[in-house]
């Protein structure tokens, strides 16, 4: 039955004569549909001779042709050498010992080369000096293949030849010979005996030549203090392995303090042996790596640090000072002094305060203690810069007294606080030459850019410490038309021979003392027995000049001056610091380092103002996690002494001292780097008078900054099964079951350990035959330095995804270092609080009172990190579970278990369902959301031929849509096995390595075969501190962790 109802569209239809009704009947749409808009210009479409049919034909044919062509394999050409170099066998890696000395990082290293291409940096285990290769050194190999490097010498932006450049320079130098204008070399710290000698020879020929050494991040205070006391310019050496009490006042000695490289020694003393380990007390304002590792951390502002150091001295030695400190800090200083006193020569004090008096006091304390860890004889020479001379140079330049300025390894227009003065002065210099890798801020303002080679293409020598020498040798022929500074200097002096010959001669005459140069070159290091002072020639003149200015202050004078310099500032104090990733900013165009999450904030691609929680509340600054999983933060305008930086993002940093804020150097570069790498703000503009602490005012401005932070949850919420922690006292006195308890489950109402086969879902395979690999991670020895993260990146061709992708938690790092804060003063207190929560506590929760002891309120409280938290680092990579949850859910069996314990991932089999990642309790699987190689959308390094040269040929470059993860560096274990098979021998302990375990110089990561019962890893597995991550899940991982023990023993 059809209805007779009539539906009216509008009352208008009642009017039969309405024109509107008629129009609507004819036209369905009232408005003209804008077909032309999306079809394009009608006229030009009609004018085209291609009809729609033709178009479809073309499409059809091209599709058919493309699919036909796809069936044919490409023709691959292979071009062998004409004359193959003897040492190169295609497919076999060569290792060369060399050294990095870029003015900021100094280390003796091994370079792995494949078919003549350096592809990875490794530790030179022969070198005892200056620790291990840190994250920046590990990443420096990528800088070699930087497409933005200067590819040849330039004059005013136009390419010229080296002959032309040399001729122009020599002409100018000769013109200046005998004139009253200066010839100035403004260089980084080379710490190179040969360079010093060469510059000295230059000064002989041109008496008006002057060598100014400039460190971007000044250590002048410490250098001056050491020089006044010990005569040589440098630092005292510290070996923290010898110390049982370490007190640091503002020194991030696990970071870049005094050149860095102290972490190996520190880590040795941190592993409890025979019930003993060192105790580390840290007084600092920013949360640093050292503070994070400390047993006791006292947050205090930079000015309070000075007072604290003065007080420490007075409590220790007995003299009185007139400095006031808040009571709790004073108590902490007192107890530290008592501990130092008790430990005597086993104690050591270090300080990072930018003040000559403070540094003098520290030297005094250590010599008073007669500290074993303190070695003033072995001078560290890796910083030689002098602020006063740099400022004098700028004055001279502005006054027109400089006839030629030749720079090498420095970028003052970026790194100077008064860069504008420098630029003005630079314009008044008759000739300016910059040896530079890049067209950076400074070199692009110079008349000549002398294209410098990367250190992997250069010769060189370094005296890291007195008597500890390292040689630098090229590991690849220069990629571009480059010449190093020393080579050019030789040419300008009209000397024959190469710099290599010059080094060889210098070494044979002054350093080697009869030893073989070839052996030294092979080892990369040389320790001279006699420890003769050899490298002073070049700098003695300058040193004499400066040392006159420094009054050799007596300890009491220094102490008084230190106490007097404590100003009680009302406002905020800014502490400038360096980050593990970028350091002084030389490698800002290195995407590995940009993407490297900061160990403390876990934030990449940015620098930011770190603010304490209470200060943030005062200023109304917020950090919040937004719906897409990213972290957003407020902006502030920061003003220091008239210099303003606008829109600095803010991160609320647990542990930041109230009344202090922190900002990292190294960001905000503007020239010589890719658009993506121009991140952050330039903190150098606040570096007035080369003081890293400044008084500062901040002002909140509107807007929100989008951070690329990879860890949004900062606390453990009392989950002691992720990180097990205990104190030394409990560790020494209580049973293992108290502090490292095996989780139990109930089987037939009987408590059974989760590792028991009775409660397991799966049958176990017999893994006792052949190799069975395990990786041990000691949470006590891990300082969170991140060298392993970069080493893994380089070894396994891990792509860089960029800031926006990082923000979406799509980072590809196979190895991450989780950092957790405690919510109470300690992590153990968190566990107690969680266990003590009673019931749900809904009432308290609903009424917004977070004080109750119900679990809802407790958990909400636990989410918040403490103002002065305990910090713990935990490297997490694929745990290679023997009962892996990921393997059971893969629909195509792309991830399977190997007999040697690895959880293997067959990329070519993976279809990208991501079930495995969802089922992984450790969240270590990484999905390739995009094609990251040869894709210009990801303009980092894999999209150009030069950048791809760093890729490891033994590891597949993954494509879009496949899952990837840590493989236990199976390419390395397989190689070790094959080498042994070829030699027909058994494998010795220590031969098996992964990239991370090889990069870890702290002994935190140990890799090996547990079926070899004598091996170190087998012993570590049997250790009482051993536990598995999330043991109760029953995954039986092959990565083992060692319970963190803190030495909380107060004296």
């Amino acid at each position: 039955m059809s209805s007779n109802k009539k539906y009216w569209k509008s009352v208008e239809e009642l009017n039969e004569n309405s024109s509107i009704v008629e129009t609507l009947k004819q036209n369905e749409f009232v408005e003209q549909i804008p077909t032309d808009d999306f079809l394009g210009d009608k006229d030009s479409l009609e004018a085209s001779s291609t009809t729609r049919r033709d178009f479809l034909k073309y499409v059809g044919f091209s599709t058919a042709a493309a699919s036909l062509a796809a069936c044919e394999g490409p023709v691959i050409k292979s071009i062998p050498y004409v004359v193959q170099p003897e040492e190169i066998i295609p497919g076999v890696a060569n290792y060369y010992a060399t050294a990095i000395a870029d003015g900021y990082d100094f280390a003796s290293i091994l370079v792995k080369t494949r078919e003549g291409r350096p592809i990875k940096i490794e530790n030179n285990t022969l070198s005892a000096a200056n620790g291990i290769a840190n994250a920046r050194v590990n990443a420096s190999v990528l800088g070699l293949y930087d497409n933005l490097r200067v590819k040849g010498p330039k004059k005013d932006g136009a390419s010229i030849s080296w002959e032309a450049l040399n001729e122009a320079v020599v002409t100018q130098l000769n013109k200046l010979q005998g004139s009253d204008k200066q010839i100035v070399f403004l260089t980084q710290t080379f710490a190179s005996p040969s360079t010093n000698k060469l510059v000295g020879e230059f000064a002989e020929k041109y008496p008006n030549a002057k060598h100014v050494v400039y460190d971007a991040i000044s250590q002048s205070a410490a250098l001056d203090a050491y020089q006044a006391k010990y005569g040589a310019r440098g630092f005292a050496n510290y070996n923290f392995a010898e110390a049982t009490i370490i007190v640091s006042v503002g020194a991030d000695f696990l970071g870049d303090w005094q050149g860095g490289g102290f972490d190996s020694g520190y880590a040795q003393g941190r592993i409890p042996k025979n019930g003993k380990m060192s105790r580390h007390i840290q007084f600092e304002s920013n949360m640093s790596l050292s503070g994070a590792n400390a047993d006791k951390r006292v947050p205090l502002t930079p000015s309070q640090q000075k007072a604290a150091l003065a007080k420490l001295y007075s409590y220790l030695v007995g003299s009185s000072v007139s400095a006031s400190l808040p009571e709790h800090i004073d108590a902490a200083v007192k107890s530290a002094a008592a501990a130092l006193k008790k430990a005597g020569c086993n104690a050591v004090v270090v300080s990072g305060i930018d003040d000559i008096n403070a540094q003098t006091v520290v030297l005094e304390i250590n010599s008073y203690l007669n500290s074993k860890a303190f070695d003033p004889e072995t001078t560290i020479k890796t910083r030689q810069g002098n602020d006063k001379e740099v400022q004098a140079l700028i004055a001279d330049m502005t006054a027109g007294k400089v006839g030629a300025l030749i720079m090498s390894g420095v970028n003052p227009i970026y790194t100077l606080p008064n860069a504008l003065d420098f630029s003005v002065g630079l314009a008044k210099v008759d000739m300016t030459v910059a040896f530079s890798l890049k067209e950076d801020e400074t070199s692009s303002n110079c008349q000549y850019i002398a294209a410098a080679p990367h250190y992997l293409e250069s010769w060189g020598d370094v005296e890291l410490k007195k008597g500890h020498f390292a040689l630098m040798q090229p590991t690849i022929r220069p990629l571009f038309d480059t010449k190093q500074f020393q080579e050019a200097l030789l040419a300008w002096l009209g000397k024959d021979g190469t710099y290599h010959d010059y080094i060889k001669e210098t070494w044979n005459t002054t350093i080697l003392n009869g030893s073989s140069f070839s052996d030294a070159l092979h080892d990369g290091v040389f320790v001279s027995e006699s420890k003769t002072v050899t490298s002073q020639e070049g700098t003695t003149a300058n040193e004499a000049a400066t040392s006159n200015e420094i009054a050799p202050a007596s300890s009491s004078d220094a102490l008084r001056a230190l106490a007097a310099s404590v100003k009680s500032s009302d406002g905020l104090e800014l502490a400038l610091y360096t980050k593990t990733g970028l350091g002084d900013g030389q490698q800002a165009n290195n995407p590995w380092l940009q993407e490297f999450p900061d160990p403390i904030t876990r934030t990449s691609w940015d620098n930011y103002l770190t603010v304490s929680k209470s200060d943030a509340e005062n200023f109304g600054l917020v950090n919040k996690n937004v719906a897409n999983g990213g972290l957003n933060g407020s902006y502030v305008n920061v003003t220091v002494n008239g210099t303003v930086i606008e829109n600095v993002p803010v991160i609320i940093q647990p542990g930041q001292a109230k009344g202090s804020v922190g900002l990292a150097f190294g960001y905000g570069r503007t020239a010589g780097l890719k658009e993506e790498m121009k991140t952050g703000v330039n903190a150098y503009s606040f570096y007035h008078n080369f003081k890293s602490t400044q008084s500062v005012t901040i002002e909140k401005v509107s807007g929100e900054h989008e951070f690329a932070c990879v860890q949004l949850h900062n606390t453990l919420m009392g989950r002691g099964d992720i990180i097990k922690e205990t104190t030394l006292e409990i560790f020494n006195t209580k049973d293992k079951n108290v502090w490292n308890k095996m989780p139990m489950v109930s089987l037939n109402h009987i408590e059974t350990p989760v590792t028991s086969p009775d409660v397991d879902l799966w049958d176990s395979f017999d893994r006792s035959i052949g190799h069975h690999f395990n990786l041990s991670i000691d949470l006590n020895a891990c300082t969170g330095c991140g060298a392993c993260v970069i080493a893994c990146h380089a070894e396994n061709n891990v792509p860089v995804v960029g800031k926006t992708e990082m923000r979406r938690s799509r980072d590809m790092h196979w190895l991450r270092i989780d950092r957790y804060y405690s919510s109470n003063e300690s992590l153990t207190a968190d566990i107690t609080e969680k266990q003590d929560s009673k019931g749900l506590g809904l009432g308290n929760y609903v009424f917004g009172d977070r004080q109750g002891d119900g679990s809802l309120s407790t958990f909400e409280r636990l989410e918040e990190a403490s103002d002065n938290p305990e910090v713990v680092f935990q490297p997490v990579m694929c745990q290679h579970c023997n009962h892996a949850p990921c393997e059971t859910v893969c629909p195509v069996a792309a991830t399977v278990h190997g007999r040697q314990g690895q959880n293997q991932m067959a990329y070519n089999r993976c279809v990208g369902t991501r079930y495995c990642a969802n089922n992984c309790p450790y969240k270590v699987r990484r999905f390739n959301w995009f094609l990251y190689s040869q894709n210009d959308e990801f303009d980092y390094f894999m999209n150009d031929d030069l950048g791809r040269m760093v890729l490891n040929p033994d590891v597949t470059v993954r494509s879009r849509g496949v899952m990837e993860k840590c493989s236990f560096c199976i390419q390395k274990t397989q190689k070790t096995i094959l080498d042994a098979k070829r030699d027909g021998r058994e494998i010795k302990d220590g031969e098996f390595q992964t990239a991370c375990s090889a990069a870890c110089g702290n002994g935190a990561m140990v890799f090996g075969d547990i079926n070899d019962k004598e091996s170190e890893i087998a012993k570590l597995k049997a250790d009482d501190r051993m536990y598995h991550l999330l043991e109760y899940v029953g995954t039986k991982p092959n990565v083992i962790y060692h319970t963190k023990v803190r030495n909380t023993t107060e004296v």
Binding site: G898, Q904, N908, R982, G984, E986
Partner: protein, 443 residues
Amino acid sequence: MKISYQKLEDNLISNMRQVIYRYLTSTSLFFGFLFLLLFSNSVFSQEGDAAAGKTLYNANCAACHRLDKPMTGPALRYVEKRLSEEEGLDREWLYSWIRNSAGMIKSGDPYSVRIYNEWNQVAMNAFPQLSDTDIDNILAYTAQEPPAPVVAEVPVGGGGGETSGVSEKLILGALAVLFALLAMALILVRQTLKRFADAKGVVIEETKSTPIWKAFVQNQFLVLVTAIFFLLASGYYVYGYFMQVGIDQGYMPVQPIHYSHKIHAGDNAIDCNYCHSSARVSKHSGIPSLNVCMNCHKAIGEVAESTATAEYSKDFYDGEIQKLYAAVGWDEATQSYTGKTQPVKWVRIHNLPDFAYFNHSQHVSVAGIECQTCHGPVEEMEIMYQHSPLTMGWCINCHRETNVKVEDNAYYTKIHEELSKKYGVEELTAAQMGGLECGKCHY
């Protein structure tokens, strides 16, 4: 048909005649040369046995001297004659030069010093062990006339090749003729029978049956079965087609230099690892760099007459060696490198995908597998081609079937002992050793 057959036969005979004729001419020529040589021998050096001299020459002199071309040292044909005519030096000089050239240079003998300087100051080895008679024999050999180019042999080979082709055609032709005759005979028989029938008045009834295709269409069962059959068959072939995409078994690209593995590995029996030396220690077998070629080809500027085949003449091979010289920058005339090199862009034949890891040294050095196991009869390949499919199934099969070579390898001692006990076998296959795990090849 018969006529054509006759023609063929004629051709064949004439061909054979030609061959015989040519052969005869060449032999007569050869004898002529031999006669001449003998005669010339008697003219220039009455003492000395040229045959013994050849052996001595090859053993002692050939490393640096050729008869007709300069090599490391000068060309030696008619050396005695040349020296006596141009320099006035006698055989005694030659004796002392050969036995101790360095001494002669030192003593300041003018010609010795000159020739020493002329040849890049490379002193000739001393041969004190050669007696006067030995040297006489060598000189006799160097005094021989060069043999005239042999022209007869190549066509003989060519003729041989043709005859085999002809014989095949012949058989086919004969068969065709036979079938044609049979068919004709059948038609004739039918006609005759029909004629008989006509004559006898028998009427053969032509039964009106449905044509076979109609019958087929009407039989639905048959249609169905056929359809299924065709579907299955086409499915089989389509599957087969797709499964061979990307498998380049038999891939035989044209290379920039015609390098014959047959000549090098086959005829001359050079060990594979001599050129592909990195196969012992590296994952790559390595395409030999050109300096490896020059180890031999410095001395071998042309191939022997006997190397030439029907398909590739001596000129062709010599041309290929010239390509090598051009690539490596070798100047034959001055016997020196010009420094102008031009790397050879070989076409890679064996291509594994990037995600598969294969290591030659594991298979060559550790397992001791013959190269031919995977690469086929390389020593018979004039042009190299891909012998094996190089698919994963092929790899896996071999791992399942091949026993691990554990003898005299301390690495395997413990694992072999334990594993063989576990599996209860004496010999372990690569698979039992873990050679089937994904991660062993894919990482």
